[in-house]
Amino acid sequence: MTLNRRSHLALMAGIAAGALALSACSAGSLGSSSSSGSAGSVTITMLVDNGDATVKTANGIAEAYNATNSGVTLKIETRAQGTDGDNAVKTKLATGDMSDLFAYNSGSLMQALDPGKNLVPLTSEPYMGNVSASFKTAVTSGSEQYGVPLGQATGGGILYNKKVFAQLGLSVPKTWADFMANNAKIKAAGIDPVIQTYGDTWTSQLFVLADYYNVQASQSDWATQYTANKAKYVDQPAIKGFQRLEDVFKAGYLNKDFASAKNAQGLQALVKGTGAQYPMLTFTVSAYVSMSATAKDDIGFFAQPGDDASKNGLTAWTPGGIYIPTTTKGAKLDAAKKFLAWFATPAGCDAQTKAVTPTGPYMIKGCTLPSSLPVAVTDMQKYFDAGNVAPALEFVSAIKGPNLEKITVEVGSGITSAADGAKRYDEDVKKQAQQLGLPGW
C-alpha cells in the first residue's frame, strides 16, 4: 500500500518534470504549411483578421507574391475580428511582438495605434504615388503616411431586393420621406420593409454611420466642429441618424426576429425576398452572392436618403491598410518594403480580384474591376463616378465612441429614445476624445 502510494508520487513528480520541460516550447504549428524558405531567402509574416474573405484575399496575395518573387516569402497569420482583434493588435504593438506586416483599419482606429511611435512611415516610398489621395488622408498622422490599401472601398447604405421593388412598382428613394412611403407599401404587401439584425450588434450602426453624407451635406465643417468638441450628436443635423432608427422601429417596419437575427440571416431574408431592404455595408456582397444563383442580379444598392433629394450621396468606407510596425528591422524591413512595392500595383489588385469578388473600387491607380460584377457593386460605383461620395466620419475624425453599436441597438429596439441615445453617445465620444488627449475636451 505504502509502496504503491510512493510509486504514484514518483510518477506524478515525473509527469510534472516532463510537462515543464515540454512546456518550454509550445506546440507551434503542425500540418500543411508548405514553404520553410530556402537558404538565403527572407520569410516575412503578415497578420490579418480571420474573416472568411480577408483570409482568402490574404492567402491569394501570398500565393501570387510567392509565385512571382524570389528571395522573399510571405506568410499569413490571423487574429480575431472586431474589438477583440483591435485589442490583439494594440497589445502586440505595445509588447513589440507584432508580425512583420499587419493589416488594420485606416482612419480613427489606425490613429489610435499611436502611428508616430509604432509604425514605419511610408511617405517617401515611390509606390505611394500609386495610392489614391483619399486613402492617403485616411492613413496620415501628423505629416507622415503609414499604409497601403488592402481591399476596396466599401459603401454604407441600403441593399434592396430589386424583385420586390419591381413587383410593387417602387423606385429607389432619394429622400427619407420617399423611403418611408415605400416602406408602407412594402409592409402592406406582407413583406418586412427593413431588415435589422441585432444578433450581430455591429449591424445596428448603419443608419447612424451611413447618414454621415447627409450630415456633411447640410453642414460641411461638422467633422471639424465635432472633433473640436463643438458639434454634438444630440443636435441637428447629426441626431437625424438616431431618429431614422427610431422611425423604422416605431412604424413597425422591422422583421420580427430583429433582436436576435444575425447578419447572415438578414442577408438570407433579403435574398429570399421576405425582407425588402437591409441597411448594410457593401463588403457583404461576397457573402450573399453565394446564397443563391440569382442573388448577384437581384440585390441592388442605394445610399441612405436624407431630407433633400438634390443632395443625395454615398457614405463610403476607405479600405483598411497594410502597415509595417517599427519592430520590423533590417532584412525583414527591406523584404516588407519590397513586398509593398509589388503590392501597390495592379498586380496586387489582380491577386485580390482572383481570390475574392471585389465589392467596390480599388484605391490604387491603374487597377481595374472585372466585368459582370454584382449589381450592388455597380450601383455603388455610380456614386463614385458622379463624385457624390463622402468618407465616413471615422476617416475624417479620430473620435469614434466604442459603445455606438450598443446604443444603436437600444434606440433601434425601442429601449431608449433617439434623443437619449444620442446624448449617451456624446458621453461615449467624450471618453474616447479624452483618452486620445485631444484639445478642447
Binding site: D114, A259, V409, Q434
Partner: protein, 306 residues
C-alpha cells in the same frame, strides 16, 4: 501508525524541543515557491492596478490624472444599472445554487435507483466551458428558430419569450443558464457535506421516530451548514465577478440591459481605456470585498457556534 498514543506527556523541556522541531519540520521556505509565483503574478499586478487606475493609460503611455477615472466610471450612464445587475446576478445565482443544490443533494444522498447516473448527470454541465455553454444556449434559446421556443409554441400556440434579447428578461435568462451550469458543483459540495454528518445523528433521529422532513429540518439542515457557507461564498464570489457566461450569451445586451461591472470593465478594456478599465477593476474589487468579507466573517462565526 498510531505509535504516538504511547508518547509520554510532554514536560517543559520537551515542549521547547517541540518548538525547535516545529521550526525544523515545518520550514518557512515551503511558502517560498508558491508564494513567489503568487506575489509576482497576482499581488504585484493588483498593487500596480491602484497606480494605473489613476492614469490615462494607452498601453503606450500612462498619464497621471488623479481621480478622473473614478469620476468618469461613476458618471458612466450604465454604471448604476450594471451595479444593480451585478448584485441581482450574484444574489440570485448564489441563492438558487444553495436551494437547488441542497434539494438535489438530499435526494441524491438517499438510496435511489440510478443514483450514480443522476449524480453524474447533474455534474455534466460543470464539465463544459462557459463559452461552450453560452454558445449552446444562444442557439437553444433563439426566440424564433430555437428548440426551446419551438416547444413553447407547440404547447401554448403563441410565440415564446425572447429569452436573451428582451431587455427585461435577458439578465434572468443568463442567471438561469448560470444555475444550470453551476448547480452540479453546489450539489457535489452538499453531498460531501451530508456524507460528513456522522451516522449516529440519523440513527438517533430514526430511533426517535422522526419523519423525513424532521430529519431534514433538524439534522441535515443545521449539520450541513459548513457546506452551505462554502456554497454561498464560492457562488457569490463567482456571481459578482461573473463575466464569461454573460459575455458569451448577451455581451451585456441588448444595449446595456444585462451589463454587469465585469462586462463594463471588459468593454472599456476593449476600447483601449486601460486606465479607466483598471479603475473599474478597483471598484469591482471594493464591491466584492465589501460584500463577501463581512459575510464570510459572519458565516464563520455562525459555524463556530454550531
Amino acid at each position: 501508525m498510531s505509535t504516538t498514543s504511547t508518547r509520554p506527556k510532554a514536560p517543559t523541556r520537551a515542549s521547547r524541543a517541540t518548538a525547535r522541531h516545529v521550526d525544523r519540520s515545518y520550514p518557512l521556505w515551503f511558502y517560498v515557491p508558491g508564494g513567489l509565483v503568487y506575489l509576482i503574478l497576482f499581488i504585484v499586478p493588483t498593487i500596480m492596478s491602484f497606480y494605473f487606475a489613476f492614469t490615462r493609460w494607452t498601453l503606450f503611455k500612462a498619464t497621471f490624472i488623479g481621480f478622473d477615472n473614478f469620476v468618469l466610471f461613476f458618471n458612466e450612464p450604465g454604471l448604476i444599472g450594471s451595479l444593480r445587475n451585478t448584485l441581482v446576478y450574484g444574489v440570485l445565482t448564489s441563492v438558487s445554487k444553495v436551494v437547488l443544490g441542497m434539494l438535489l443533494a438530499v435526494v441524491l444522498s438517499s438510496p435511489l435507483i440510478a443514483r450514480g447516473y443522476l449524480r453524474s448527470v447533474t455534474f455534466f454541465p460543470v464539465l463544459v466551458s462557459s463559452v461552450g455553454v453560452g454558445l449552446t444556449f444562444q442557439v437553444l434559446l433563439d426566440p424564433f428558430h430555437g428548440p426551446v421556443n419551438a416547444v413553447w409554441s407547440a404547447i401554448t400556440g403563441a410565440d415564446g419569450p425572447r429569452w436573451l434579447t428582451d431587455p427585461k428578461l435577458a439578465l434572468y435568462s443568463v442567471v438561469g443558464i448560470d444555475v444550470w451550469k453551476g448547480v452540479g458543483l453546489a450539489t457535489l459540495i452538499y453531498i460531501a457535506g451530508i456524507a460528513a454528518i456522522p451516522n449516529e445523528y440519523f440513527e438517533a433521529a430514526r430511533v426517535d421516530g422522526a419523519s423525513s422532513w424532521q430529519i431534514f429540518r433538524n439534522v441535515i439542515l443545521p449539520l450541513s451548514f459548513p457546506a452551505t457557507s462554502t456554497v454561498i461564498i464560492l457562488s457569490l464570489i463567482g456571481g459578482l465577478r461573473s463575466f464569461d457566461l454573460i459575455w458569451s450569451t448577451t455581451q451585456g445586451g441588448p444595449g446595456f440591459a444585462s451589463d454587469v461591472i465585469a462586462s463594463v470593465i471588459y468593454k472599456q478594456y476593449q476600447a483601449g481605456f486601460y486606465g479607466l478599465s483598471t479603475a473599474g477593476n478597483v471598484v469591482l474589487f471594493l464591491v466584492v470585498t465589501a460584500i463577501v468579507y463581512p459575510l464570510s466573517r459572519w458565516l464563520n462565526s455562525r459555524e463556530a457556534v454550531l
